[in-house]
Amino acid sequence: MRSYRYRATRRVAVLALIGALVVGLAGCGGEELTQRYRAERMAWQVRTLERAMAENPDIATDETVAKVMDAHREIIERFPPPTSIDDTTPPEVVDVARISAASRLALATLLMNRATPETADESLRETMGLLESVRDGYSFDRTLSIDAGTRLAGLREMTGDFSGAIDELGDLLDRWPPAIDEEGDAPDMRILRLPLRRATSYAVRGMPDQAERVFREVHATYESWASTWAGTPTGEAALRMNADAYTAQGRWVEAIAVYEEFEATYGDDANRPSTWLALAEIYGTRLQDERTSREYYERISESYPETKSAATADVALALLDIGDGRHEKARERLTSVIERFGDEESIAATAKQHRAASYEIEGRWDSAIAEYSALAAEFPTTMYGLAAPLRIVNIYDGMGETAAGATALDEAVMSYERVIRDFGGTPAEMAARNYMIQTRVRQEAWSDAASLLSETASRFPEAQAAAGMLMQAADIYVEELSRPDLARELLQAVVERYPEHDAAERAAGMLESLDE
């Protein structure tokens, strides 16, 4: 019996030893996989939260955003930039680096979006630090590096460090070729756009001499890329960018020459409509050569009727017809656009707007009103759809029909209320609120207008117009409603919330005059 037990325990002991050895050996290695799994899990959790916020803006509270930012910070802290990445680096390590870099970029975006006047400087510093860490620490990854570099350049430009921005873009150009692959089959549009962006930065800042000099470099760069990668998609994109650069520079003749060279070299069914469109616009709006412009538009319309370029061409042709007084023909074209592109909201709304405007120019008021009503009903969140209710009011006012105008104003209010209710949290809400304010002012419903102004400013405190809205509401309280107490509250809010805004000074002045 003892012998049996001894044998049994010995067996157990041997098995335990072998097991321990196997587990011990197996335990060695695999740390990279574990790290990647942890990083991916953390990234997934934060992405889930971000997705939920994007789907339901109501949950995007300060608390939730702070949670997201903390999660990104945790990822950044736990997974620092890699010391070096080369061909021998395990893919798991590269993946972890990418996750960490993506968190740095996401945090940078959130910091800038959430910055308040009080935290702007600190947020900017932190954002720049994050972007620099990605640019320098993750230079093995083209996408990350370019993303960080271009955003850094944008921030430097925004903060007045123009030469820093130009240098940043220059560094990117030196570091990365315009093609992702050696064959040039995969052009990198971010790099391809950089030369033009550098030049337009000078032009926009009112530095024509420097812009001229940089534009020369830009053309040289694009020509060099076009010849180096001739016959490839990268060469094609470079040639096209050169044409766009000439257009941006306002050198129309050269632009036309390059567009024509582009069409001759790389023209196909995919790019021809947009090339012809560019040529038509240059001939029409820049060189006042309506005949050639019309020819190009007609070629697009006839050869590629199902493309969006054809819709643009047809609308342009309709506008030319309207300009020449051929309203019937113009409306036929616009109707055809609506029929073909009814599902493309912006195209259909534009066509409807011009059809309504054509009736209006002809003085066919009923048709114009019917067209604008349909536009507001069918495309309530588009630029033209939002403007349509007030266009109707203008028509009645122009006709001297005061009662109908008042009814139209009431209908406009209802229409904007619907958009605010049904499309809350979208850009359309802000636009609808603006139109609603205009409507209330025209109705001389001062109390409603003032409430709406202060409510909109509170709902969109980050909006550029928020301080101005509070000022306008304060003006109404003083001038129309004789409620200086309420005006004072709003002016105080402008001074406190927007100390850097121009309105703050005016608000302080108004407060002083109210106190007197």
Binding site: A26, G27, G29, G30, E31, L33, T34, Y37, R41, R51
Partner: protein
Amino acid sequence: MDLVQQFNALIWSWSETLSALRRRVGLQPLLIYAAAQLAALAILAFFAYPPFASTVAPLIRWRLGEAALHYPTCFLALRASFGQADVVLSVLLGGVASAAAVWLFSSYYTGGDGRVRDGWREAFGRYAPVLLAAVVAMVLVQLVSRVPTTFWGHWADERPMRFRLVRMAAIAVVLAVQGLFVYAIPYIMLGGRRVGGAIGGSIALAFKNPVTTYLIVAVPTVLELLPAWLTRNGATIATRFAPEGLAVVLVVWVIVILYTSYFTLGAATRFFLYATQNEGVAGTAKRPGRPETGGE
């Protein structure tokens, strides 16, 4: 047996299985198998942690590709990786656990007092034939279940409705194949037959009693519909809740499989003992029992 007798035998077999379940007869071998499945599931779910990161992860990469090692895809791939692990597990352990359960059921149905240890000893004593029978059945089941994707895979996108019908038909055929083999282990364990004889006997018995046999196999499978539906909607579970939720679904599935197997084996053994009582099968001597047929 005519149709009524077959139905009667089926219901009687189930009621006897329920009675066995109340006394937890034959549950232990299947619980051990379920525990092994859960252990395999846990290992696959924690593949990224030591010591599995260097042992299990390469196997997953080999079988399912690099994507299956990324979070959260690893949880979406968990059903496939677990399925593959379970194929091995069901052959190596599932067969012998079923054999032990069959022996214990038989002992209970015939009025014996078989101990669990004896069931395992008997099952391991016939490990080779049980293993072989399990392999043959598994190979056939795997072949049949792959038919729809092999021959009509392109219909999944082109004709989804028709593809769904083909898959349902394949499931029905898989259940029929399982039915053909359902008495193989009872023949080995209780009839003392070799592999060929056991499989032949099982097929013959199934053909003689097609309704009873098919329903013994098919009805408990209905229990698997819910976890099967949940895993099919894995992507939704992963995005709406958490990818780890898919592991929980598979745990539920293992539990469901435990009971499905229990009812299939319990009813099959009961019916086998009844149907072969005149063949001198061992274990039927004491209390063969018989269903009330009314037609005899």
